[in-house]
Symmetry: C2
Subunit: 418 residues, 2 copies
């Protein structure tokens, strides 16, 4: 007997036929004698519909009421899955966020889970009942409905798994695992059978949209074994297993370890350059403090060497969706910053190589720069972490760069992915 | 300062534009210095969509989970109305059934309200906030979501009004009040400015679809002054008032009182005749007990005089939607009942005249029979209550009968209704 959390995304819950498919997958785990909690998303498109209503009602909507409205999508699918499970002989009941309850912060529309009460949940599971839990939602201390922000259902699943000390948290999605890179760009991309939390975290945050970043961070913190697999396909990989397991580094044998685990690309950044910023103490703070105050995330930063007497150019990237707001903030701060001009470029792409093997091997970044340089791809900015190197290049060169690097790091499979 | 409950149905809540219209009506009452609670239905069509999902998931769905699914429709409109109110400067918040809470029985999908906790509600109203409450929903003692059955939002509104001792419960709908009869059949039907609870109860139960029967019964028991009026029109009647007020008999002046207040028709019944039922003690019980056990409501009953030695025909009506089930129940009970044959007829219509004036006047029923008889309309069955006379006739004669009776009882307006 194992304790398992199964999480199904919006595509897997889109319509009753698909919910029946989900029910039969849950039944298989339950029949194998496992205790099963299922975390579900709203039907694909439903959350967008509900968010649209709120925006139409008021551009400055109260996020407490927004949470009341948008949390209803998962409420519907939870009830329907419980019905579909019962219809095939599996005892099941739904538990709303306020019923368990799932306690969260009061940061409506982007709340964080603080604690999940497992008394009722454990009693239900021990009685052989499958628990169906709406993802994305919780309750504040004063009993108001909260949501965790878009994609929050992955986080709900990991949090439930941590709270019930589950042996595994299976995230069912529309892809069959985590790949070395996007198979639409590199047909020879390989499905990974295992990946470490840290690698997944870096891949998730640089644009591999398999899992929500926050859920991976939580899984790492709580040591929840997460598996990503397909709702629609049962094919097993070369290793005989379905999906990709996300685990601690200690669970991955040295033998299995590649220098680089994956390559991600991200076209959601925009580059901003401030020209001729006076080169004085506090200059950098005068740029980035107002951006931070406006909650705009700055990613890559390069400060050029002073090119004229007493001034320098500062380049950085912000999320493309925040560019207009960033320009506005910087225009207001201009008297303080003192830059002569601002230029921006949305036709950029960030390419990242990720792998824990990087730690113990020198020259990994050098291979990246050399590979791109040989084909004349200009690197506009660089950032690194312990297990990641990212470069900013021209958007048009994204696919070429990913393919070149995939080959250079020996990631190509012998045959093209299906 | 008055305390007012305003209730808006699905047509009034269908889409953000209409929700804005509702918000402006609420604002007017709030700006006049009133304490206002608003009870809302789901958007028109939404409950049907959600019920459809449940039925598609399983024909034998768990009503506890059905309640989780279908209650979400009112959750959405409550949040949206709170947002729309805030957008025009009216402080407002939504209160789910479990948040107030609204305590109900555990009869899922057709629960009854037992008690509404008003501590939080009163504090909110006293603070000048408009309370937005989803109709149709509540919570059991073990904290599971319930719904009150279709049309339950009217009942929610009256129950909230009773609990908060409201001065008035205004039910906004797509008609501008209660008419002497259906204006689509009789263009000279008149809008009533006042009607008694008992009359409204009889009219509601015989097919005038303005208010849910249960809500009228509750209003009568709790002495809640209910007004029915239009969400979309502001026209006032001849009396200078909007809508129709439903009140106790003592509030209606003798001067205003008509002999007959309204005429209703109902095409939702079917007639069943059991031929040659053995005429012995317990024969009637052997017919109606199995129907009662199957929760099939029997309405009109006629037992003919024994036409052959020792046997009689028994005729009665059941809801048309239950006819197939009634036939099935009676076929199974045939050995016990001993009838020779069963005939049924769905082409029937029930016409009812309603009025408290009937109590003190003889000959009211006689006028009905004479009026119909003179035009050759055959009466197949009759039932009466203290303030109502109903007859069963052929369906094709419905409109003619209603028009004849409307004229016969002096209800025609001088001009046709708009």
């Amino acid at each position: 007997m194992a304790r398992i959390v199964m999480k199904f995304g919006g595509t897997s819950m889109a319509g009753i036929e698909r919910i029946r498919n989900v029910a039969s997958r849950v039944k298989a785990e339950w029949e194998a004698g496992n205790q099963v909690a299922v975390v579900v998303s709203a039907m694909a498109g439903e959350t967008d519909r509900l968010v649209g209503f709120c925006r139409e009602a008021s551009s400055l909507y109260d996020t407490r009421e927004y949470d009341v409205v948008v949390s209803s999508g998962e409420q519907v699918t939870s009830g329907l899955l419980a019905i579909a499970l019962q219809a095939i002989g599996v005892p099941a009941r739904s538990w709303m966020g306020w019923q368990l309850p799932i306690h969260t912060t009061a940061a409506h529309s982007s709340a964080r889970i603080e604690e999940i009460d497992t008394v009722a949940l454990n009693a239900s599971l021990a009685g052989g009942e499958v628990a169906v839990i709406p993802g994305f939602q919780g309750m504040t201390a004063d009993e108001r409905i909260t949501t965790l922000g878009r994609g929050g259902s992955d986080t709900s699943a990991v949090a439930v798994a941590a709270a019930m000390k589950a042996d595994r948290c299976d995230i069912y999605t529309d892809v069959d695992g985590v790949y070395t890179t996007d198979p639409r760009i590199v047909p020879r991309a390989r499905k990974l059978s295992k990946i470490t939390y840290e690698e997944m975290l870096e891949l998730a945050s640089v644009g591999a949209k398999v899992l929500q970043t926050r859920s991976v961070g939580l899984a790492m913190k709580e040591k929840v074994r997460v598996r990503v697999l397909s709702s629609f396909e049962d094919a097993r990989g070369d290793d005989g297993h379905r999906g990709t397991l996300i685990v601690g580094e200690e669970e991955i044998e040295d033998m299995e370890r590649q220098l680089i685990t994956g390559i991600a690309h991200d076209k959601n950044e925009a580059k901003v350059t401030l020209l001729a910023v006076p080169d004085r103490p506090g200059a950098v703070a005068s740029i980035f403090n107002p951006l931070a105050d406006a909650s705009i995330n700055v990613d890559m930063i390069i400060q050029n060497i002073a090119h004229e007497a007493g001034s320098t150019d500062v380049t950085f990237t912000v999320p493309r969706a925040e560019l207009a707001r960033a320009i506005d903030v910087l225009a207001k701060a201009q008297p303080d910053i003192g830059h002569r001009d601002l230029r921006h470029d949305t036709r950029v792409s960030k390419i990242s190589i990720v792998g824990v093997g990087m730690r113990s091997h020198a020259g990994v970044a050098a291979t990246m720069f050399k590979t791109l340089g040989e084909r004349g791809i200009n690197i506009q900015a660089i950032t690194t972490s312990e297990i990641k190197v990212s470069v900013l290049i021209h958007e048009d060169e994204t696919e070429l760069a990913v393919r070149l690097l995939h080959t250079a790091y020996g990631l190509d499979a012998e045959e093209a992915a299906a």
